[in-house]
């Protein structure tokens, strides 16, 4: 099993690498489209901002490699900003197109709640979900998807309003929370993604 983690160049992928190692999975950071094409599993992590994140993917040609994987239903996991980059666009960077894998746009939390949302929140899952089950997840976000794309199964949390905590369809999984920082529950989710895909 070979896991490629898209190198965002931001230097905060240590917890993800450790989480994979703890599951006995060999993971490597990469900026090379051919590695993304060849890997069994690809994780698009993300911390940072939507505009620079998309610019980085485009200049390295990683955007096309990721889109090809999704089109072929090969295992792809987007985490936090990585999930948001899969959408069509984001209020964080108006005019910058996303990867367009998800029929959704990224919107900010309203000003009346703590932003960024930092901490643990309850995730309620759809009974049809194959991967995401109910539990407590760690979030670090100011933005979220506006809807569960048609044809996908969603999981939800509430931060004043209900928001999309995760989406899944087959081998495609997108988490607004950080499974690598969500304790045993998050580790079990990663394990299910590795096992079932």
């Amino acid at each position: 099993m070979k896991v490629a983690i898209v190198n965002t160049g931001i230097g905060n992928t240590a917890s993800l690498l450790v989480a994979c190692a703890r599951l006995g999975v060999t993971a490597e950071l990469t900026e090379r489209p051919e590695t993304i094409r060849a890997a069994s599993f690809v994780i698009l992590p993300g911390v940072g901002a939507f505009g620079p994140g998309m610019a980085k993917l485009r200049e390295t040609g990683l955007d096309e490699a990721i889109v090809e994987r999704a089109a072929a239903d090969r295992p792809l996991l987007g985490i936090c900003l990585g999930l948001q980059l899969m959408a069509c666009e984001s209020a964080e960077a108006p005019g910058v197109p996303g990867l367009g894998l998800l029929e959704a746009v990224v919107v900010p939390f309203r000003a009346r709640v703590r932003v960024p949302q930092l901490g643990w929140n309850r995730v309620t899952s759809d009974p049809r979900a194959q991967l995401v089950v109910e539990g407590d997840a760690y979030f670090a976000n100011s933005y979220h998807l506006d809807q569960v794309p048609a044809g996908m199964t969603g999981a939800w949390s509430t931060h004043e309003i209900p928001f999309v905590a995760a989406i899944e369809r087959g081998a495609l999984l997108g988490c607004q929370f950080h499974p690598e920082l969500s304790g045993a529950w998050g580790a079990a989710l990663l394990q299910r993604w590795f096992d079932r895909c």
Partner: protein, 250 residues
């Protein structure tokens, strides 16, 4: 609903956890990796690691400590101490921190917060503020409480958020290590004054203290001695908080 966080704090110097009173009289309290793993097992929501080393050698050890602690944690890790520029922050994040705490350097050059937020996102940027005083008037102090700045705490925190801080780690110097409870007026003033989450620190020694800080508006409570000395496990504390009606992760 977003739950309130209970955060054990590891003040480390030269690779060991230490604890003092009002940032002085530091005593050895154990090995950071063992304590971090124990607290995570007990249900800690996050761990904060503050490096209080005074020397460059100590700082080098701190990176090794971050790597070692990261390996045993599957919950968030915030690391602070001596972060003066984007490169310092990047080294800590690469070593395994999820958030970086900045204090003195941000007071001296607030643009640092902007640079960190632009590079890593504001959810990575924790502004640590040490508040001196009581009543309703607090002054920002820096360099482990040794330097008075003349700046009002609320003014500085609002400015810090405008510059890019995504979280406030608020420590009352007057309460730190005293076991007298958190400065509730300070917490309420800051929690009302900003949109970002506020972590209360300084003086927490009982579950009643933690409950009071959360009721005053803190999003999270940080404590050190009460856990290091084995009086309470994190699990004990969270069970009692839940019993008192506080939403915590169980």
């Amino acid at each position: 609903m977003l739950m309130r966080r209970v955060i054990p704090c590891l003040d480390t110097r030269d690779g060991r956890v230490v604890k003092g009173v009002r940032f002085r009289e530091l005593r050895d309290a154990g090995a950071p990796v063992e304590l971090a793993a124990r607290y995570a097992d007990q249900g800690a929501d996050e761990v904060v690691l503050l490096d209080v080393s005074a020397t460059p050698e100590g700082r080098g050890n701190a990176l090794a400590t971050v790597r070692a602690v990261r390996r045993v944690l599957s919950i968030p890790l915030t690391v602070g101490g001596g972060v003066r520029n984007v490169d310092d922050a990047e080294r800590l994040l690469s070593a395994g921190a999820d958030k970086v705490g900045v204090n003195s350097a941000a007071v001296e050059r607030p643009e640092l917060l902007t640079e960190l937020a632009e590079r890593f996102g504001r959810q990575c940027v924790t502004l640590a503020v040490d508040a001196l005083g009581g009543g309703s008037d607090w002054e920002v102090v820096t360099r482990s409480g040794t330097t008075r700045t003349g700046r009002r705490v609320l003014d500085w925190i609002r400015a810090g958020c405008a510059h890019g801080a995504g979280e406030i780690l608020l420590t009352s110097i007057d309460r730190d290590g005293t076991r007298a409870g958190y400065d509730l007026e300070l917490i309420a003033a800051v929690a009302d004054g900003v949109a970002v989450p506020v972590v209360a620190s300084g003086g927490g020694a009982t579950v009643a203290h933690l409950t009071a800080a959360l009721s005053a508006g803190a999003d999270a409570v940080l404590a050190a001695s009460m856990f290091h000395e084995g009086e309470f496990t994190v699990a004990d504390v969270k069970r009692e908080l839940a019993h008192a009606g506080v939403a915590v992760r169980r």
